[in-house]
Amino acid sequence: MNDLSFDNWTTQLRKGLLELAVLNTIADAPLYGYEIVRRLSDVDHLVITEGTVYPILSRLKNSGLVDTYLEESQEGPPRKYYRLTARGRDDLHRMNQHWQSLHHAIGSLRKERKR
């Protein structure tokens, strides 16, 4: 696979995974946008351009998977927190299960190849 094809492949892979990553980031506790971006940026190769996360958050909100609320901050402007809705939690559970099964499937294919 040449560099261009590999870049294209990683872009396609990231496309699907970024949404799952965003939902998992706010699964335990509500977070504001900047903090979500910061956490996702810490994961290697997941976020190439930080701004990409904001249209995804907007779309997740429009889909009813997350909702938002404003909270005052002592260190700057009021922050918009994102949290999972009940539907978002259900969808995330299903998405994580699907991801796990895919991960296992790829893992078993690799094991077979090694034998």
Partner: protein, 254 residues
């Protein structure tokens, strides 16, 4: 609200305008909401920087956010695309451009404007869909570039050229100004007069264009997306130098 220098504010405004332009028309994303989130992101990122925040700090945050043109293209362009790639308007714009070149001067000059409007419409359509122009830029850029070149030429020449022609027609300047009778003195006066007129016009034109920067960028997008007030400041500075040289020549015409 963080305090920014005018240059930093201009960079941020330009970035947000590009972002709005990219997100406009996308059904799954609320552009205002994304803009509000991006503003919050920038304010938090720069909260601890000493004010007023300069362009360098703002650019560093914007670079990390990345070009808005890539946000949708990278992540979910496929989902929001409302129609398959359609090259018809681009072909139409290019066809009108070719025809205008073939029918120069009179009919061609009239056709270049609709060709340019069709090209701009196509650029906006592609932006609304979050599609990069790709190879289609070769179809839509020529007419925009030609109109831009004509507009730039008119800006440089402006009213001074016909004015100079009127003044120098039948040596009318002899009746208006105190012009030396010797040939070298006359030449110095003519050169100096021309330099003062053109230099002053460039200063005025630069001020006018700087005041209408956004409109000019919009009309000639995407070719002038990078146009800044500093470019007109350079034009005004050149105008001032040329006018000063002209005034000196007139002063020492004898």
């Amino acid at each position: 609200m963080i305090e920014m220098t005018p240059a930093a504010r201009e960079r941020l405004d330009d970035y947000l305008q590009r972002m709005r332009s990219e997100l406009r028309g996308t059904r799954s994303v609320v552009a205002d909401e994304v803009e509000q989130s991006v503003r919050e992101h920038i304010e938090i990122a720069l909260a601890e920087a000493p004010g007023p925040i300069g362009a360098t700090e703002v650019i560093s945050v914007l670079d990390r956010l990345g070009p808005p043109e890539r946000w949708l293209a990278d992540e979910f362009m496929d989902r929001i695309r409302t129609a398959p790639d359609d090259w018809r308007l681009a072909y139409l714009a290019f066809g009108m451009f070719l025809l205008s070149m073939l029918l120069l001067p009179a009919v061609g000059a009239m056709l270049i404007i609709p060709a340019m409007i069709a090209s701009r419409a196509y650029v906006e359509l592609a932006r609304d869909r979050g599609e990069p122009l790709g190879a289609r830029r070769w179809l839509v850029y020529p007419s925009i570039a030609v109109v831009l070149a004509i507009a730039t030429g008119l800006l440089i020449i402006g009213p001074p050229l016909p004015f100079m022609a009127w003044v120098f027609d039948h040596r009318r300047y002899d009746q208006i100004f105190d012009v030396p009778h010797s040939e070298p003195g006359r030449m110095r006066f003519i050169a100096g007069f021309g330099a003062v007129v053109f230099g002053s016009w460039w200063i005025l034109a630069a001020a006018f264009c700087a005041a209408f920067l956004r409109s000019i960028r919009f009309v000639f997008a995407p070719l002038l997306d990078g146009l800044r007030r500093q470019h007109f400041a350079v034009l005004a500075a050149i105008g001032a130098v040329v006018a000063a040289v002209g005034a000196t020549l007139i002063y020492y015409r004898y």
